[in-house]
Amino acid sequence: MMELENSSVMTVSNSGSGEASVSSSGHLQPSALQNTDPPPPPIPVVKKKRNLPGTPDPEAEVIALSPKTLMATNRFVCEICNKGFQRDQNLQLHRRGHNLPWKLRQRTGKEVRKRVYVCPETSCVHHDPSRALGDLTGIKKHFCRKHGEKKWKCDKCSKKYAVQSDWKAHSKVCGTREYRCDCGTLFSRRDSFITHRAFCDALAEESAKTGAKPQAADGKAAATQDGAAAAAAGQDAIAATAETAPAAVMAAALPPQQVTPLERQEPEKPTALLQYMPPLSASLANTSGVTTTSNSSSSSSSSSSTSLFASLFASATAATAAGHGTATLSDLMGAMGQVDRPFVEPPSLCLATNGRPAPLFSPQAQGHDRRPFAPPPPSPHMSATALLQKAAQMGSAATGSSFLRGFGLDAAPSGQQESLQDSSLRWGHHHHAQQQQSETEPSPMLTAGLGLGLPYEPDLMMGSSQLFGPKPATLDFLGLGMGPVGGTPNGGLSALMTSIGGGGLNMGPGTATGGRVGSERKPTSPAIR
């Protein structure tokens, strides 16, 4: 079979036709959707082997279908001629016409050459062959759901769906099956409900009211020497008694007052699906002194006012750090530690504001913590080469600003490779604003010429005060090139850029980028000056 290999080389016209697919073989190299006419790929050896987890079979054929094909409502599509069918049985019967092996419900067990499908949307993670989806229905659903217009809306709740079958499935269950816990939480699935109920305080309260009746468990184990231990263990589990004796806790042995500790957790609020957390326990609060007010907001130690990466990337704030002079590596490591979870806290899992004061995670605290609810950052569709070029220049100029200097480096302008293990710690000094030199105004014309058209971000290297906060657009490609770059120790970076820029980052020729940055494939301007 597999005439597909020979016949599949359909020359794909431009987007006008819309119904196009090209397949390729080999190392998951996707073909373009247009203007290529590759020679027929060699017939591959069909190996039945188990896929590496999380990765499609490297021998798999990568198929890129057009958006129109993917959005077609016929779920079952013939790979040969793209004719669509509502039902798999019909498709299989149709496939017989292509002299393909066809299968009805039962799987034959034999594996034909596996196909994987990439999403035509270039910014999509599944555009990458290493994230290709394994089945045709899957990629169709993915495309519809992710990139298609969400035109199916549930009546009862407001959820929207791009795929009709998803919408139908949801509508069936929405509001129909409801399990309600005594605490007021609703569940659409029984297993979640059961599990929740087991651990919900509402159950404990109910038991306390009815009183825990001793139950004859299997007789002997009931009130043995463990009974006393159980009482103690219930109260203060860890410390316990039992470094040696196992602590047996039994339902039967529970005196009613045992359930009281369970009530110390805050009572449920009907609207919250998940409980809000009372103030952090002391142990947590102790870490680095402050866990949430990080970075740009107030902090006790000077250097903790900047994150690790603020120092790395931000001269202005780094200068602040430097100015204090007492900043040490430990401070910065501490700062790094503080950086890590500011945005995560609160992982309060609280879906509704229930009016409870949030000691550490009040909205005010959140406000100056970070800017997480500012406009989300753009997808990384910026030019990789642009970033790398900028990095290259930064590297040459940033003689004093490497955070790794804290490990004993002094990045001399000649920039030979440095050991990270020099003993002298010069962290905290020399945080010059040398990086800033490259951050002057862009040349608007060049920017436009390159089609980047992105907002200039003067604070590119100074603004990101959080490691993990959202970054504003960082695509000032033309911020580079102001300072002369001499003798840059860019050996490593050059190689990196060549390896990446030389095609590693491209999705193949001619892939439409849909109006995003980088859509211009041929920069018209000469090199940065």
């Binding site: 190392h27 987890p53 999380g54 990765t55 993670v125 990458d128 290493s130 394994g134 089945d135 899957g138 759901r145 499935a169 979640s192 929740h196 087991a198 651990f199 159950l203 139950q215 184990a221 263990a233 219930g234 589990a237 339902a251 957390m277 490591m333 790094m336 806290e345 609160p346 899992l349 997480p372 950052p377 290259a392 490497s402 480096l409 920039g415 490779q417 440095e418 990270l420 003993s423 490691l467 002369p484 840059t488 190689a495 850029m497 990446i500 820029g501 030389g502 590693g504 980052l505 491209n506 999705m507 193949g508 020729p509 211009e520 494939r521 041929k522 000469p526 090199a527 940065i528 000056r529």
Partner: protein, 443 residues
């Protein structure tokens, strides 16, 4: 699998005259010829690999440069790739900072610990996606089948999920035609220091569980095996503390409280990955994976259920680990993206927990690198070597699992690979679940 994107460059950009980026070491103009590609997963992966290589090579300048680039891509509130990148970057920073020879507490000491959850929050956490309940449902199904007709059931529970699995089993047992058995659940007090973190002790969870069982008229005994060796609270070297404590829990099998006539079930949920490979001689190192399995075998259980994530994240080579992590952990990020908004606290918390895993896998070596996941295929071979036979899930269990999966987003799928059930996301393996009986078991 490496994605080799050898797309030919479409157009040549002539770069005249002094390219300021030409350096003695190589011309960057060549890179410009690649024109303005977008940074996709493969590109990010390459950057991460380069960064790791630079860290290993002590090339501070290159590290800084690549990290700068990565930092511009990374964003905890961006798209899944950006979010994933932010955690990888952090892990690489952690790794780089290992070079610092001071008495700074290690990056994982408490600093990465999120606010611990309440029990009900943990319920919501494990039910965000089918990722966890997949294994619960399958294992419980196998257990139910195996203990049919048995009056006494004893479960040894080795799991990081604090008994989230058991309410549904208790519920199912209470509905047995022959009536519920006496159920005993025993767990070690030792638990690896990994998320998810609960704000109450195991004993308290046991109390609640017992309460619940009572409400279902299922007699339950809950038992925490204390270590005979107690560790210091020093978080440095926390994992070897766990291992020693764990080993000491098992040192004396009689401390497990096994009894005659009970159907013994051993349940391992995301647990074995925390046991080291071992020295090769299983008898030497009590806490190693093989030693553990050997011990379990000697207990002659009627069933051993094992669930874990289906990926090999334990390579000795850092670059391999980065690749495999990146090509696996995108799955939960992608899944959460489909139904939770960018700034959902649940999503951020869940991702942060994965981030902690990434940090451990990439930022650490030796004993501190406690996450040593092996895929279902490798694990199955290990079980076979340890003298177990696979036990197939019955059709009813499989249907129940399928039902669970179908109730979530349509991209979740179920796959069968011989006797293994695999949860898939968009066709990629995410979690495997298996059941085993000792070869030649007679019970």
């Amino acid at each position: 699998m490496r994605a080799e994107l050898r797309g030919s460059t479409p157009g040549h950009v002539s770069v005249p005259d002094p390219n300021p980026f030409d350096t003695p070491h190589g011309s960057l103009s060549g890179a410009l010829k690649g024109c303005l590609g977008s940074l996709d997963g493969a590109g990010i992966e390459k950057l991460l690999l380069h960064c790791a290589t630079a860290v290993e090579a002590n090339d501070a300048t290159l590290v800084q440069q690549v990290m700068w680039v990565l930092n511009n891509i990374a964003s905890s509130h961006g798209d899944p790739n950006q979010r994933l990148t932010s955690w990888f970057l952090r892990a690489l920073v952690t790794r780089a900072s290992q070079f610092c020879p001071t008495a700074i507490p290690s990056a994982t000491t408490g600093l990465t610990r999120a606010r611990p959850m309440t029990a009900t929050e943990l319920v919501g956490y494990v039910d965000l996606t089918p990722w966890h309940r997949f294994g619960f449902t399958a294992a419980n199904g196998a257990i139910l089948k195996m203990v049919q007709g048995r009056r006494k059931v004893h479960v040894l529970d080795f799991s990081i999920y604090y008994c989230m699995q058991w309410p549904t089993l208790i519920d199912a047992l209470s509905g047995r035609p022959e009536g519920p058995p006496l159920l005993r659940i025993t767990m070690p007090s030792a638990r690896p220091s990994v998320p998810p973190h609960l704000n109450v002790s195991t004993e308290e969870i046991g109390l609640k569980l017992a309460n619940f069982a009572k409400s279902r008229d299922v007699p339950l005994e809950f038992h925490v095996v204390k270590a005979t060796w107690s560790c210091s609270s020093d978080a440095l070297n926390g994992h070897s503390n766990f291992l020693q404590e764990f080993a000491s829990c098992l040192l004396d099998p009689s401390s497990l409280g096994l009894r005659e006539g009970e159907a013994l079930v051993v349940n391992c949920q995301s647990w074995l990955r925390y046991l080291p490979e071992g020295s090769g001689r299983a008898t030497d190192d009590l806490s190693s994976r093989d030693a553990f399995m050997e011990l379990i075998h000697r207990l002659n259980p009627c069933l051993v259920t094992v669930t874990d994530e289906d990926a090999d994240l334990d390579s000795a080579r850092l670059t391999s680990r980065i690749m495999s992590c990146f090509n696996y952990l995108w799955i939960p990020f992608d899944a959460l993206e489909t139904f939770l908004p960018k700034d959902s606290p649940q999503r951020l918390a869940y991702e942060a927990d994965i981030g902690q895993k990434i940090e451990n896998i990439i930022g650490f070596e030796g004993e501190e690198r406690m996450e040593r996941l092996e895929s279902g295929a490798r694990f199955s071979q290990r079980m076979t070597r340890a003298g177990f036979e696979s036990f197939p899930f019955d059709e009813e269990t499989v249907s129940e699992v399928k039902l669970l999966v179908d109730e979530h987003a349509s991209a979740w799928g179920l796959k069968r690979e011989e006797d293994t059930l695999v949860l898939t996301w968009k066709g990629h393996n995410s979690v495997f679940t298996t059941a085993w009986v000792p070869s030649g078991y007679d019970g």
